[in-house]
Symmetry: C2
Subunit: 209 residues, 2 copies
């Protein structure tokens, strides 16, 4: 199940798009082509999540969306804190605003006085001192780190201490966190350097998220 979660998120997005276009059913090879993987992998994922299709019609789009949502969305929704209200932080806030109802950036934090105590795309920005208090008050369990590299590790430490158990890290440093805290690193420099390298090789391999 672990490895599948990322793909489920991708499937759901593709399926939502199909649903909007009033497409009721999809075959494994259709979904595979759109997701950039093989039909066998799609069928295996369906098996893993216990979802069945029909050999004549394929998979029901809306049912599958609901099935995936039941697995990956928290029924009551989850609140996220964002640390660092720079360009990247603001991009993330506006990107998530109204995007995934079950997953909301509930509070943003910054060390810069000029960026706080106001509302950015529907999200309240607070001074960094209030991090622990607001995480606790609001019952926030996950956080996004969008601060400079030098500040990231200390923010991570504070987040973990305040009870956060999942971190999405955009700072270009691998975070040191206890083993029970899940971290996902989005390393933009690495991604860019990979692209630069493979641009020079005429390579065929497609990247993944």
């Amino acid at each position: 199940m672990e490895i599948t979660v990322g793909r489920l998120s991708l499937y759901r997005r593709i399926l939502n798009e199909l649903s909007l276009r009033k497409i009721a059913h999809v075959y494994s090879h259709n979904l595979a082509a759109k997701a950039g993987i093989t039909a066998a992998a799609v069928r295996r994922d369906m098996m893993v999540i216990g979802f069945s299709g029909s050999p004549s019609k394929g998979y029901n789009v809306d049912d599958l969306v609901r099935h995936i949502s039941g697995l990956i969305d928290h029924p009551d929704g989850q609140k996220i804190a964002l640390i660092g209200v720079g360009n990247l932080g603001r991009a993330l806030i506006s990107f998530f605003h109204g995007h995934r109802p079950k997953l909301t950036i509930e509070a943003a934090f910054d060390i810069d006085e000029g960026k706080v105590n106001r509302v950015v795309s529907g999200c309240r920005a607070y001074p960094l001192e209030r991090l622990e208090a607001i995480i606790d008050e609001q019952g926030i369990t996950a956080a996004v780190i969008a601060v400079p590299a030098a500040a990231a590790q200390d923010i991570a430490r504070r987040l973990v201490k305040a009870g956060v158990t999942g971190i999405l890290n955009f700072a270009p440093v691998p975070l040191q966190v206890p083993p029970d805290v899940y971290t996902e690193d989005i390393d933009i420099t690495m991604a860019m350097e990979k692209v630069a390298y493979f641009t020079r090789q005429h390579h065929t391999k497609r990247g993944e998220a």
Copy 2:
């Protein structure tokens, strides 16, 4: 070699940090701990790239930085175009500005008149119509897509037609490109949904870039 490129980029960043701290040598297990992998994997990577250490001192930090740079940097530098000068685009421009001398965002493009014909963190922003002309003039080979999902596929098509062979895609849609074009997707929604999911499981697995 393919899989290693991402890790080489990470190693180099860690090594640069060590170099600044005047640390001349590093053992595989030191580097492994900082990179979040095993010592065996580090030694294997060193073998793959043909770099030797000494059993008494470990690997020479500065030599290794140079060795990695020789492999992954283009000797003459590479120019990158960025499409979409929103919050995310601006974050990327300022992040890369002066960051990697061999890898520069040379030109930015946007459809919005208000965002173009000016300089953002040292990068000139042009109207989208001039995309093909400037890619050609400047000899740009790679591009970053930071536009809304709906516009991404058409931008990708134009980039490929203009001769770009590597794309870093931040739009939440898998791009359809010819097999000789390398694409790397950074899927923020997927990453966030993974974090949200694994935050609920008390899972130990650490994510990767």
